[in-house]
């Protein structure tokens, strides 16, 4: 899908809440210093009992502005609070506070919420009082539940557990009545909300679309499931070497949390008000790998290739003409996903000189759909600063990764950024932006 409309969409505001901080400059500097947000799980972490050794959490929630003044805070999960904070930062960055207040009916709000697992603590008090002790199975007895457990259930657990709650609370907080939608998928789907916001602007339905993504899955149920399903690297001894993408020596990832909001704006609207523009959205694509396994991607890379080709509107005979300056790779540190990505990138770009590459899972951990947009934001900052950031834990030792990567930041002319996102189970998305 590419930009063939009379309306063009640019990115005019960014707000992030990440394990490496929420100030863009600070996060950029942390990336350049090859810092990581991954740390050992400690007793106070929600997921401690899951046995997961490392996580990449947002440890500074107490610093969020307005956090304690928010109405209905008790109904908000961590991912909602992250999103609201990122949204405020994005509105501030784009300087559209007045626009949001004056044109709230027309502003679109489109989100991707990570599928954070059910927090069983919501149900447990009621469940524990509804077990038929005589049965020996510890199963919930429906008669007991109806007469006793039901009353003990948190009456608002549905609100707390609502999958579109980040979208709704954000709309309530800012009074936004425009085009509204919420995608719910794991990694690889972070760009879906950007795509939908872009469509709304392209079709002339709005001048401003708030798009964003949020995830917080660091609870014990979720971690138990994800780590047992996908595994984690036993060799990790500290956060710094916890994730090594494309590595022959170890495989596996650690999870994090956070949120990102991008303000999309119709180009002339942004230009006329003198907004700072980070980049213009050029094209986008998404698809799923066709290998039969539900929980892993295709090592052959056919799906990634299909996604990239669609995004760049490429055909076999003109592939050499497409030269993105900077490619942000997913680098999941999972064998099938990494192999598939490497095959696709080699096939499409191996003979194209001048492409720079970067990948950021070792810095942020894997944050589901948030990773997609967060890593893309680092690409946008690189384009703005004309600096290619260093890549942590990669170098030349990585399996077959003989691309143009460096462990030190360096200056380069970056005119466009192609960001590739992958999710568990073979979801692929790509977003291509160009400098104005």
């Amino acid at each position: 899908m590419n930009n063939q409309s009379e309306y063009e969409a640019v990115i005019s505001g960014i707000g992030i809440v990440s394990p490496l901080g929420s100030d863009k400059q600070m996060v950029w500097e942390n990336i350049c210093r090859k810092k990581t947000g991954i740390r050992k799980a400690v007793h106070d972490d929600l997921c401690f009992n899951s046995g997961v050794p490392f996580i990449s959490p947002v440890d500074y929630m107490h610093e969020f502005k307005k956090l304690n003044n928010r109405k209905n805070k008790r109904f908000m999960r961590r991912n909602v609070l992250f999103f609201l904070e990122a949204l405020n930062l994005a509105i501030e960055d784009a300087k559209i506070g007045k626009q949001v207040a004056d044109n709230h009916q027309d502003i679109a709000i489109i989100t991707t919420c990570g599928d954070a697992g059910t927090d069983f603590r919501l149900f447990l008090p009621s469940v524990l009082r509804s077990i038929d002790e005589k049965s020996g199975t510890r199963e919930v007895n429906m008669k007991i539940f109806g007469s006793r457990g039901l009353a003990l259930l948190d009456p608002y657990f549905l609100i707390y557990d609502l999958l579109n709650s980040a979208n709704c609370f954000a709309a309530i907080e800012h009074g936004i009545n425009g085009d509204s939608n919420n995608f719910i998928m794991s990694g690889g789907a972070g760009f879906h909300s950007v795509k939908a916001g872009w469509e709304v602007i392209k079709s002339g339905k709005t001048k401003i679309a708030i798009t964003g993504v949020t995830e917080s899955l660091l609870n014990s149920a979720e971690m138990q499931y994800l780590y047992r399903r996908f595994g984690y690297p036993g060799k990790a001894v500290n956060g710094d070497n916890a994730i090594i993408p494309y590595s022959d020596e170890k495989e596996g990832l650690f999870f994090g949390e956070g949120a990102v909001v991008l303000i999309l704006e119709e180009y002339n609207h942004a230009k006329n008000r003198g907004a700072h523009v980070y980049g213009k959205i050029h094209s986008y694509a998404t698809c799923v790998d066709l290998n039969p396994e539900l929980f892993s991607g295709d090592a052959g890379g056919e799906g990634v290739m299909r996604c990239l080709k669609k995004c760049l509107d490429m055909h076999e005979d003109d592939k050499k003409n497409v030269t993105p300056s900077l490619v942000i790779t997913a680098g999941m540190a999972l064998k099938n996903e990494d192999d598939g990505e490497l095959h696709a990138l080699k096939h499409l770009f191996h003979d194209t000189p001048g492409i720079h590459y970067a990948t950021f899972k070792p810095n942020f951990g894997y944050i589901g759909p948030v990773s997609d947009v967060l890593e893309f934001v680092i690409g946008l900052l690189a384009m703005k600063k004309e600096q290619v950031p260093p890549v942590k834990n990669l170098g030349n030792k990585a399996r077959g990764m003989n691309f143009n990567v460096s462990d030190k930041e360096y200056t380069a002319s970056i005119n466009d950024v192609l960001s590739l996102a992958k999710g568990l189970g073979g979801i692929n998305s790509a977003l291509f932006v160009r400098k104005i």
């Binding site: 899908m1 009456p155 999958l163 709650s165 979208n167 009545n177 919420n182 047992r228």
Partner: protein, 428 residues
């Protein structure tokens, strides 16, 4: 730039009144009530006893299909089942070339933990050990079985979309959406825009849900949203003066959308056309919408504007009509705000009196009903409505009414404040 046109070339449906589209359509025309006393669990001590369940246990075909499906999620299974019907209906089966630029956009169900999973959680809560360590040796299952239990905690809403894509070899875009009760309305809108913007030629879209389980029901019992009427015939009575809440339903509705010239080129029967999609956010409260109905009206206005039609062309509206006191009043107010006196001549109904509120599937099943209503030129009746609430003042047919319909609208309103309106037209 000239707007592309998007037509409907396939339908699939499963709900309490039918396991396929012909059964559903026959029964909705008869106003067959698919609501009964809950069979899924013992409700003898529950304040709510009725639901519109899909009975898998007593249907050998469904039972076998559910077993073969691969994982234990009823909502996802229903979605898969309806997708297969729609896929075949659109003539997409056995034709890999057609799936090259075919995508999917599905409103998928939430999952609440089963009783077995809760039993595991309760053991876990008793100690500081990990879950695996908490399972007594004699109960230890294989790793895969254990993961199946855990998956119920990890909702993995998008698993159904990945499964469909992989099984049907769909090479186009894949989206999973969740905007509560508006999910399938939003997913249809997203699919429609995907085709308009050239992202795909064909999109399989709709929604699925199955929340008739003890936690799903409890959530809405606490919010006092469910009907406490024990008579299944009168439990779900949208716009009736005696309504007192909605009845939980289960099901899936799936529509195949296709770019017009693509459909014409392959000569597939065209069932109708989607011409408008409007959406808005109430930005009011998570649990309810403002009584003035302004933001619901906004979504309808946007859909009509998107369709580029005059309001007079709308001959029928399939309302969200949940049968709760507030929703039906607010929606009626919004309808009056948009259509004014024209509303008196527009036929209106809600299918929830037959199939209950199928949450993430409700917009799609309503859309199927609307597409077939336009195609056959009729509006299906609501036989169990005794007295229409004078505060709603709607033109609701009690018997099947035949009429020439050129355009019709579907409303679907989601918990959290998400509103969606869709406009469908006769294909000409």
């Amino acid at each position: 730039m000239r707007k592309k046109r998007v037509v409907i070339t396939g339908l699939g449906c499963i709900c309490s009144i039918g396991n396929n589209v012909p059964q559903f359509w026959h029964n909705i025309k008869e106003s067959t009530i698919g609501i009964d006393r809950i069979k899924a669990f013992d409700v003898s001590t529950f304040p709510v006893t009725t639901a519109a369940e899909v009975d898998i246990e007593n249907n050998e075909d469904l039972k076998a299909a559910f077993k073969a499906f691969g994982y234990r999620n009823k909502g996802h299974f229903l979605g898969y089942y309806a997708v297969m019907e729609a896929f075949k209906d659109a003539g997409l089966h056995n034709n890999e070339k057609l799936t090259e630029n075919t995508g999917i956009s599905l409103g998928a169900s939430s999952i609440y933990p089963s009783r077995e999973s809760m039993a595991m959680a309760s053991r876990f809560a008793a100690t500081n050990k990990t879950w695996v360590d908490n399972i007594p040796e004699q109960e230890k299952r294989t790793k895969e079985e254990f993961l199946d239990d855990l998956i119920l905690f990890n909702r993995n809403t998008d698993t159904i979309v990945r499964k469909i894509v992989k099984d049907l070899k769909l090479k186009g875009p894949a989206y999973t959406l969740q905007t509560a009760c508006a999910s399938s309305g939003n997913s249809i809108g997203n699919a429609y825009r995907s085709i308009l913007h050239g992202e795909a030629d064909i999109m399989i879209t709709g929604g699925c849900d199955a929340m008739v389980n003890y936690l799903g029901m409890s959530a809405f019992i606490h919010l006092k949203a469910l009907s406490t009427t024990r008579d299944p015939y009168r439990a779900s009575i949208p716009f009736d003066v005696n309504r007192n809440g909605f009845v939980m339903g289960e099901g899936a509705g799936v529509i195949v959308l296709e770019e017009r010239t693509h459909a014409l080129k392959r000569g597939v029967p065209i069932l109708g056309e989607i011409t408008g999609y409007g959406t808005s956010n109430n930005a009011y409260r998570i649990t309810d919408s403002s009584l003035d109905g302004k933001t619901i009206a906004l979504s309808m206005e946007r859909a009509i504007h998107d369709a580029g039609i005059n309001k007079k062309e709308i001959g029928y509206i399939c309302a969200h009509g949940t049968s709760t006191i507030q929703n039906d009043f607010t929606e009626s107010t919004a309808l009056r705000m948009v259509f004014g006196d024209l509303l008196d001549n527009i036929r209106i109904n809600s299918i929830k009196h037959c199939v209950g509120h199928t949450i993430s599937a409700s917009g799609a099943i309503s859309a199927i009903n609307t597409i077939l209503s336009i195609k056959e030129g009729c509006v299906t009746p609501m036989k169990n409505i005794e007295r229409i609430d004078p505060e709603c003042r709607l033109n609701i047919p009690r018997t099947l009414e035949y009429c020439d319909l050129n355009a019709a609208m579907v409303n679907t309103l989601g918990f959290g404040g998400q509103n969606v309106s869709l406009v469908f037209k006769k294909f000409e």
